[in-house]
Amino acid sequence: MFIVQVVFNGITAGATIALMSIGLTLIFSILGIVNFVHGIMFALGALVAHFATQSVGLDYLSAVVAAALLVGLFGLLLERFGFRRFENLVLEGAVFAIALALFLEAAMWAILGGSPRSVETPFSGVFRLGDLIINKHRLFVVVVAFTLIGALSFFIRYSRYGRAIRAVQQDPYAARLQGIEPHTISMLVFAAGAALAGIAGALIVPMQLALPDMGTAPLLLAFVAIILGGVGSVGGALAAAMVLGMLQSVITTFWSPQITLGIVFAATILILLVLPEGLFGRKS
């Protein structure tokens, strides 16, 4: 039973990482941007949820939707007025993203200060199945995350815009010749990726206090997930995120949460040394 508990915690952690890493990997595959701002979007999602429930008086579910919309809009604006300039300048784009992330984090500290903010969930309490204790909110997180990931995969595979996204991933130039505007697609992808990160933040905030730097650890893990999953692959990112979530849960349970990142990165380095293109990556 204890093992089931650990596995369930791993699935919850993995679902959060997956929400982050799928957006990251799509953004990278379209624009060539290593988006370090994604951790900030996670924190923004959490903060939007906090202010929407505490100051505006929305209920929690509406607050999650608000986080998706506002952070998604923020992502769209960032693409339009910032990242578009760095198309295929991988290094410069990454550094710009780092600078922007540092600035936004500094701005959040300056405006909000260090006081932690919390959000109440309507799904408080637990289910008991014999010895097994399942936190209702965790279950909610898992259900929402997998529903969204499923919907996104469906969208990418079968919808008109999804096909356009895959076309631009493969060859923006050829896509343009077919009447697809790559910049529209990259704005769409940025907005969707940001919205997913915002939702992830809003989903996590009832379990963890909101602080400006709360997105750093999920961001780092999401990077590991996309590298292991092979850049650009949604399925790979999802699979790698679940592996990492499980790893995180096991290390946290049996060892100490502080060294999770160290061990995860050590494992990643070892894997990349053997497979320089990641676990599921193709040789270019």
Partner: protein, 586 residues
């Protein structure tokens, strides 16, 4: 041109020296806080300079703070626990980092771009986590206190002068690397990796070397830092330190020697000079950082250096005009190696189920011009990639005068005398034509590590003379000083050919040398190739779609279709071959 250059660099050096002297002397009167800031700025500059080496080769590393930290801890532990003499401990710090980088570098640098970014970033996290958790040695997050000063440098004032000496040594040393062969080779790798490899520059070895040298210097700085502050803790060597070290080069411009110097001074000095309050410093510094990168993605210096060029008149490069001779004067060079016989036996290759080379066999006699034609997708470029080592054959042999080339790396194949050009990535765009040709010249003259890294490249007068000879023979004198990227397409292709020829090839493989050229440019190119052929001093393979040119130039022609040779023969035989006519010539 040379005088122009040296005058300019002398002026720059003189100005820099004056500015530095003024700054150095005035700071020594400015009180302990300013002196402290100046010392930290020196640390930042040296870290930035050492980090830039790998940036030049096109790889951004987040690992620098880890080596800085390892150096600091090695110094701290060996002076406190082991009681080592402080200067020996400083050497130990550098040696430890060199060893660490030599172990981690080769496997880590198999990854590229964003993958390497994450591997190096993982390295910092892992090192940080070890420093935190290995409490019995590192004392965990409380760190190590009571680290002794370096012997002979007891107080702030002497540390200041020592750091000035350090800065001077670092500037001279890194400028030397920049001016030596290595500086240009690293830039070549960073700009156009494939072409660099095709001129005999080994990417793996050079990147690891840049990584190791950078790590050693970072370790040394770590030791200085530990002795100066007297206290080390994991919090001083986090990912964010790496981010700032990386930002020095990006802000200033990694392509310029002074880039990381300016970047480091900007980041460390701006908050102090403008007296920003502690509360707003992070906000303002990161905001300005983002704005600088947005406005000038290639760094401040890339913008500054562009300004004077606007006022200078650039001579319009006039090339491809009718040559004075009638296309029969042999185009030869002094000190040529003898042409080689190329033999290909049973060469096989496939991409998954697509057979791109099936049992290909042919030979080219020394000095022969052999054409390779065939419809799109016939496997012509694959054949060239196999010959030059960019693809590994799944079977068969490639021999140059009886020596096996298959299974050698592209750089090793270049050293054996087989050189190729590319269809589209033709030149190093951000270098002058002269520098392009010089890199080509080096392909035929490997140098010792010492010469590569230390001797200024302008001192190798034979190389310079040979580059100038090539420039003269190819009529490129008018454009020698211009950046190759600014040239018209046809001229770029001509420069690309000259880079290949500069490497003194025994076998030269030309991948569509006339693709995309205008009529006049094609005529010019054909004439040059005719004149090269007249010397019979290079065995030449040409892939080309312009049939009149191919028929006129080649002694024999190999025709490919779906990875198979369907016909070999003289131009007349090929033109009358019914199969070739049906499939390709139409």
């Amino acid at each position: 041109m040379k005088r122009d250059r040296s005058m300019k660099s002398k002026l720059t050096a003189a100005l820099a020296a004056v500015a530095l002297t003024i700054a150095v002397v005035s700071v020594s009167f400015a009180g302990p806080y300013m002196i402290h800031v100046a010392i930290l700025t020196v640390f930042a500059i040296v870290l930035g300079l050492s980090h830039r080496l790998l940036m030049l080769a096109g790889q951004a590393s987040f690992a620098h703070a880890a080596f800085y930290g390892i150096g600091a801890y090695v110094f701290a532990l060996s002076t406190t626990s082991a009681g080592l003499f402080s200067w020996l401990a400083l050497i130990a710090a550098a040696v430890a980092c060199v060893a660490m980088a030599a172990i981690v570098g080769p496997p880590a640098l198999r990854t590229r771009g964003p993958y390497f970014l994450v591997v190096s970033f993982g390295f910092v996290v892992v090192v940080g986590s070890v420093l935190h958790s290995w409490k019995s040695v590192t004392n965990g997050s409380s760190g190590i206190i009571g680290i002794p000063k370096l012997a002979g440098i007891p107080d702030l004032g002497t540390y200041y002068w020592a750091s000035i000496v350090l800065l001077a040594i670092a500037l001279v040393a890194f400028l030397a690397l920049d001016r030596a062969r290595w500086g240009l080779q690293l830039r070549a790798l960073g700009q156009t990796p494939k072409l660099a490899e095709a001129t005999g520059i080994n990417p793996g070895f050079n990147m690891v070397l840049a990584f190791v040298v950078g790590a050693g210097v970072a370790g040394l700085m770590g030791g200085f830092y530990a002795s100066y502050i007297g206290f080390v803790a994991p919090s001083a060597f986090t990912l964010w330190v790496s981010v700032f070290i990386l930002s020095y080069s990006v802000i200033g411009g990694a392509n310029h020697f002074l880039g990381p110097v300016i970047g480091a001074m900007y980041i460390t000095l701006t908050p102090v000079l403008f007296n920003w309050s502690e509360r707003f410093t992070p906000l303002l510094i990161t905001a300005s950082f983002a704005i600088i990168v947005f406005v000038a993605p290639k760094g401040i210096l890339s913008v500054v250096k562009r300004i004077p060029r606007r006022f200078k008149e650039t001579p319009a490069p006039e090339l491809a005009g009718p040559s004075t001779d009638n296309g029969v004067t042999p185009l030869d060079f002094t000190g040529k190696r003898a042409p080689a016989r190329l033999e290909v036996r049973g060469l096989c290759h496939n991409f998954g189920g697509v057979k791109t080379a099936q049992n290909i066999a042919f030979q080219a006699e020394p000095g022969e011009v052999l054409g390779v034609i065939g419809p799109n997708g016939a496997g012509k470029t694959t054949l060239f990639n196999l010959l030059s080592g960019f693809l590994k054959p799944k079977g068969g042999q490639i021999l140059i005068d009886g020596e096996r080339l298959d299974n050698l790396s592209p750089a090793a194949i270049v050293n054996k005398g087989l050189i190729r050009t590319f269809q589209s990535t033709v030149v190093f765009e951000d270098m002058t034509v002269f520098e392009n040709i010089l890199i080509g010249v080096w392909a035929s003259r490997p140098a010792s590590l010492y010469e590569t890294m230390v001797t200024p490249r302008s001192w190798a007068s034979e190389d310079v003379a040979k580059a100038n000879e090539i420039i003269e023979r190819f009529d490129l004198g008018a454009v020698a000083k211009l950046s190759a990227g600014s040239l018209p397409y046809g001229t770029k292709k001509l420069v690309g050919l000259a880079v290949g020829v500069a490497g003194d090839p025994r076998v030269l493989c030309l991948d569509e040398p006339m693709a995309g050229m205008t009529g006049a440019e094609v005529e010019h190119m054909v004439k040059i190739l005719q004149r090269m052929k007249a010397t019979r001093s290079i065995t030449i393979l040409i892939v080309e779609h312009r049939m009149p040119a191919v028929m006129g130039l080649c002694d024999r022609i190999v025709t490919l279709n779906f990875g198979q040779i369907i016909a070999t023969g003289t131009p007349a035989e090929i033109q009358s071959n019914s199969l070739v006519r049906e499939i390709y010539l139409g």
